[in-house]
């Protein structure tokens, strides 16, 4: 009997260790590339970190400005309608709300008293000047790959800003998540705390793209699924995840559910402007990433990101292949013809004049629904969020605008029209209920309160 129990315990211990090891292996975002890595200082094939050649002789503040855009600090460290970098942006998580902090150089409420070493500790290891641990909503497990020089260039830029007095908002977290000391364990498991190591078997362009995507742009923080402990699970690297009430899509090379069917030009266009003809445009958090970060990259850097994205192993997720043919011109024909009268009526009154019954907009290519991933997502998450919050973006190719309907339409109405749109223009109609829409509003509450109301 004792032997049997002993064997059972051994099996459980091995399984637990194996599971822990599996989680641990999933934390390295670059493991998929294989090959030998070298320390950055020993890599001489090209420039991996820092600013692009165009800015090599610019002053430190200009360089910091480029890098702070590349790392997209502003999107999270700015509350809607608030002063840039003064914090207060709410992250609505299943276990409570976390607010971003003030990173203007205000000595009382910002980072005005941070030394270089303290700033690096926050960026690389998630440790505040007072020694407290930051919640990993701050993507330090990604920024940890950033070089000291780049992080300090960002600090130099931040210290040129006008100090804003904005006291930190109190986080509202349930126990045990309210215990910051527990983050120590999380850090051991999920923060590698090492700087970027170039991969000698890949091209200099790939390495630059990897640095921009992992150390700076932290794409995986939204696009990579998380494990039970909320660490990134790179076994499904970039295969898509639900973040802050919006779906970050699969950006692996899978041809059906990912971006394997996109051309390099499509990707370049989407990354540089937040829109690609035939694939639609970014809204919500990706719209912010395009407007606050990606659109500032020089062409060589955007090309490097494209090259890096192309190397991500295909990973199939549960999304169907995107429908690329237009719906019929008459409302009477098409997939959702008789099924959803309420959705059809709302579409006729509020949507058809810009999006057309075909889905191909007569007004502007930005409003075409045919071929758009969100419309081909049977969860209709991003369709409902876009209906609720609208779109208001300025791009190099012009203004992208859709009114926010969240204030004027009920949860029932929004569910009906989202179901109608995915059924008519997408691969598979959604089955959202008013309750689902209420939950989506909750998760992205911040945007819906602040977006312009059509």
């Amino acid at each position: 009997m004792k032997r049997v129990i002993g064997i059972l315990v051994a099996i459980i211990v091995v399984a637990a260790l194996g599971f822990a090891g599996w989680l641990y292996l999933g934390r390295n975002p670059l493991a998929f590339a294989g090959g030998a890595t070298v320390a950055l200082a020993d890599y001489h094939d090209g420039t991996v970190a820092g600013v692009p050649a165009e800015l090599a002789s610019a002053d430190p503040v200009k360089r910091g400005e480029y890098l702070i855009h590349a790392a997209d600090c502003q999107a999270c460290h700015t509350a809607p309608g608030g002063a840039p970098f003064a914090g207060g942006f709410a992250f609505n998580m299943p276990f409570g709300t976390i607010y971003s902090t003030n990173i203007t150089p205000d000595k009382e409420t910002g980072i005005g008293n941070y030394s270089d070493a303290q700033f690096l500790a926050a960026v690389h290891r998630g440790i505040r000047a007072d020694g407290q641990k930051l919640y990993p909503a701050m993507p330090y497990a990604s920024y940890t790959y950033m070089t000291d020089a780049d992080a300090l260039a960002i600090k130099a830029y931040l210290f040129t800003l006008a100090p804003v007095s904005a006291p930190p908002k109190q986080n509202q977290l349930s126990w045990p998540f309210s215990q910051r000391s527990l983050i120590t364990l999380w850090n051991v498991a999920f923060n590698p705390d090492e700087r970027f190591r170039p991969n000698a078997s890949q091209s200099p362009q790939w390495n630059r793209g990897a640095y921009l995507a992992e150390a700076m742009g932290h794409c995986g923080e939204c696009h990579t699924p998380r494990n039970l402990a909320y660490g990134l699970d790179n076994h499904g690297k970039f295969a898509g995840a639900l973040t802050a009430g919006w779906r970050a899509y699969n950006i692996t090379g899978d041809k059906v559910s990912g971006i394997g069917d996109w051309s390099d030009d499509d990707l370049y266009s989407y990354l540089s402007t937040g829109h690609a003809n035939g694939h639609g445009g970014a809204a919500g958090p990706m719209g912010e990433a395009a407007d606050d970060s990606l659109s500032y990259l020089v062409p060589d850097d955007t090309h490097a990101l494209v090259a890096y994205l192309r190397s991500i192993p295909a990973h199939a997720s549960d999304l169907p292949r995107t429908i690329t043919t237009a719906a019929p011109a008459s409302y009477k024909e098409g997939a959702a013809a008789d099924a959803n009268i309420r959705g059809e009526k709302i579409f006729a009154g509020a949507c058809a004049s810009c999006h057309d019954w075909t889905g191909v907009s007569p007004v502007t290519g930005f409003a075409t629904l045919t071929g758009v991933r969100a419309v081909n997502d049977p969860s209709a998450t991003n369709v409902a969020q876009t209906v609720i919050n609208g779109v208001s973006r300025k791009t190099a190719d012009g203004r992208i605008f859709m009114p926010a309907f969240g204030e004027g339409y009920s949860d029932d109405d929004i569910a009906a029209v989202a179901n109608y749109v995915t059924g008519r223009f997408g691969a598979k109609g959604a089955h959202l209920t008013a309750k689902d829409v209420a939950a989506l509003r909750e998760q992205a509450a911040q945007q819906s309160k602040e977006a312009p109301n059509g």
Binding site: A352, C354, G398
Partner: protein, 152 residues
Amino acid sequence: MLTLTVNGQSRDVDVPEDMPLLWVLRDHLNLVGTKYGCGVAQCGVCTVHVGGKPVRSCQLTVGDVGTRAVVTIEGIGGTPNGAKVQQAWMEIAVPQCGYCQAGQIMSATALLDTNPQPDDADIDAAMAGNLCRCGTYIRIRRAIKNAAAKSA
């Protein structure tokens, strides 16, 4: 300098490409029959035809018009269906205050261009984006049917 085809005529306008077509029509071409309502494509009063389709001109930037022909309320009477719709509108005196009616007539004409004999559901689907605060919807529906009868 942009060149537009408006109501069959070639017109040159010196405006920024991101100006809404409605602004160009009203302020630069003095075609003030097309009205400004909500400004966000929710009311339909600014409807004009672009390439034969009814489009809310407050949301279409002039740079996106390209070579597509623009027809406004001033020119719609020159098309067969437009003439019939306007005639039917007068026969039963559809408008009350009239502010939305240019847009109503443009949407009604576009409907008859694609569907010569619309039933009530067709009319509702095509006209749903054109609001009328006076509530002339009953007369609008009847006038469209009268105009369709003239086509036959």
